[in-house]
């Protein structure tokens, strides 16, 4: 897609990974208004992680809700400072937080934003910093966990110990987890957010582990959901606790007493059929990459209310 020159100028200062994320955020944005708001947040000098988190928050909102969440209208409380009001005009992410919206950083910031917007931000931040003590809105924001639009850059979330352990299990050694998952869950929150508008919520289960769900039961429930038209997201890997890829079970087919599941691995774009008996016996998955051996986790739908 083509973007305005000023957006492209900022984008040029981002890392290749940041540029890729931005492209995906533009593709996933629900409307042109959302694209515009994300671009404005980017131009205001926010980091990749902040822009990503902001885009995630907007995605589940209608255009009217987005507009309301990111603009200070005529009924703005009088205790907003002039500087805040002016900044909110040009920075929708700042306005979003000023109005009580919360963001969870979900990207490791691997590159600073472009120099020009950062300079502009510094100029705008000075007066706000002086007013901090007297500004109740800002004071309340400062006490909140996570990061806010005023921060100079990425501030890691405080992760509880179980959550930190869960993240450590799936993150490359030595690397900071980019998108902290809730404790014991790897992708349930992402799926729920993605399909909220379609009326589907999810319950992530670990397969064949103590406290998890036996794979035969999980496949039974998956087959039932697939018959109702709901694809089943999974995580595959080479051993329990070593997830490698996401996978989508697209459909099921039964012939006599045999049932097969069609599996789609989006990274390699392989689409294969796997016999249920092979899945139950924990035989190798039929992908070219033989390290993708097992189904480790599965997300089962809770309800459908489209």
């Amino acid at each position: 897609m083509t973007v305005p020159d000023e957006v492209q100028a900022v984008l040029d200062g981002w890392s290749p990974r940041g540029r890729k994320i931005f492209k995906e955020l533009m593709e996933d944005a629900s409307s042109e208004l959302q694209q515009e708001l994300v671009q404005r947040a980017m131009l205001a000098g926010h980091t990749t992680g902040e822009v990503h988190a902001f885009a995630d928050e907007l995605r589940g909102l209608s255009d009217d809700e987005c507009f309301a969440a990111c603009t200070l209208d005529d009924d703005a409380p009088e205790d907003y400072t002039v500087t805040q009001l002016l900044r909110a005009e040009s920075d929708p992410l700042f306005a979003f937080e000023l109005k009580g919206g919360t963001l969870t950083p979900n990207e490791e910031d691997d590159a600073p934003s472009a120099a020009l917007p950062m300079q502009r931000r510094e100029v705008m931040e000075a007066p706000i910093a002086r007013e901090l003590a007297a500004d109740p809105v800002r004071r309340a924001k400062e006490q909140r966990a996570g990061f806010n639009a005023e921060s100079g850059g990425f501030r890691p979330m405080v992760v509880s110990k179980p959550a930190a352990l869960a993240v450590a299990a799936v993150a490359p050694s030595g690397a900071m987890p980019a998108m902290p998952a809730p404790a014991g869950r790897l992708f349930e929150d992402l799926l729920g957010e993605a399909t909220r508008a379609l009326g589907v919520s999810w319950r992530e289960v670990e397969l064949d582990v103590p406290g998890g769900v036996p794979i035969d039961q999980a496949l039974q429930q998956a087959a039932s959901a697939l018959q109702r038209g709901i694809p089943i997201p999974c995580v595959i890997g080479n051993a329990q606790g070593r997830p490698l890829r996401y996978l989508l079970v697209l459909q099921t087919s039964t012939s006599g007493t045999n049932r097969a599941f069609q599996l789609y691995e989006p990274f390699s774009q392989e689409l294969v059929w796997a016999n249920e008996k092979d899945l139950l016996s924990r035989g190798e998955l039929p992908f070219d990459n033989k390290s993708l051996r097992r189904l480790l986790r599965m997300a089962l739908p809770n309800a459908r209310g489209l």
């Binding site: 996933d28 629900s30 995605r59």
Partner: protein, 125 residues
């Protein structure tokens, strides 16, 4: 004598309808830069088709293509293409299911992309 149960027509009994064909359609829509919001709108709009007779469903699909999705030619083209394949009432329900599944798969693949960094090497290991 009981009336013969209506059968689904050939395009709807194709085993790859919700597999390879669905992914091809999704790729086509993605190349046309169709936003997820439009697919969700499509899924919601198609609910009105359920239980309709074939002739009514065809008219409604074409109306959706020429009105609501006129600004998204890739979706409009998909709707018109499918409208010509409807032959029985069973097909209508299967088409609604297919296009709803398309919206769901698209949403889930988007979630995978956003969650890639939760996996070692960004899910490329």
């Amino acid at each position: 004598m009981a009336a013969a149960r209506p059968q689904a027509s050939a395009p709807f009994v194709n085993r790859e309808l919700n597999g390879e064909q669905l992914l091809d359609e999704l790729s086509e829509l993605r190349n046309a830069q169709i936003a997820q919001k439009h697919l969700e709108d499509l899924a919601r709009a198609l609910h009105e088709l359920e239980g309709r007779r074939v002739a009514e469903a065809v008219i409604q699909l074409k109306q959706l293509a020429s009105n609501r999705f006129a600004g998204q030619p890739a979706i409009a083209s998909l709707l018109v293409r499918w409208s010509t394949r409807l032959k029985s009432e069973v097909d209508v329900g299967l088409l609604v299911g297919h296009l709803e599944r398309l919206a769901l798969v698209s949403a889930l693949l988007g979630a995978f992309r956003r969650g890639a960094d939760r996996l070692p090497k960004g899910g490329r290991a």
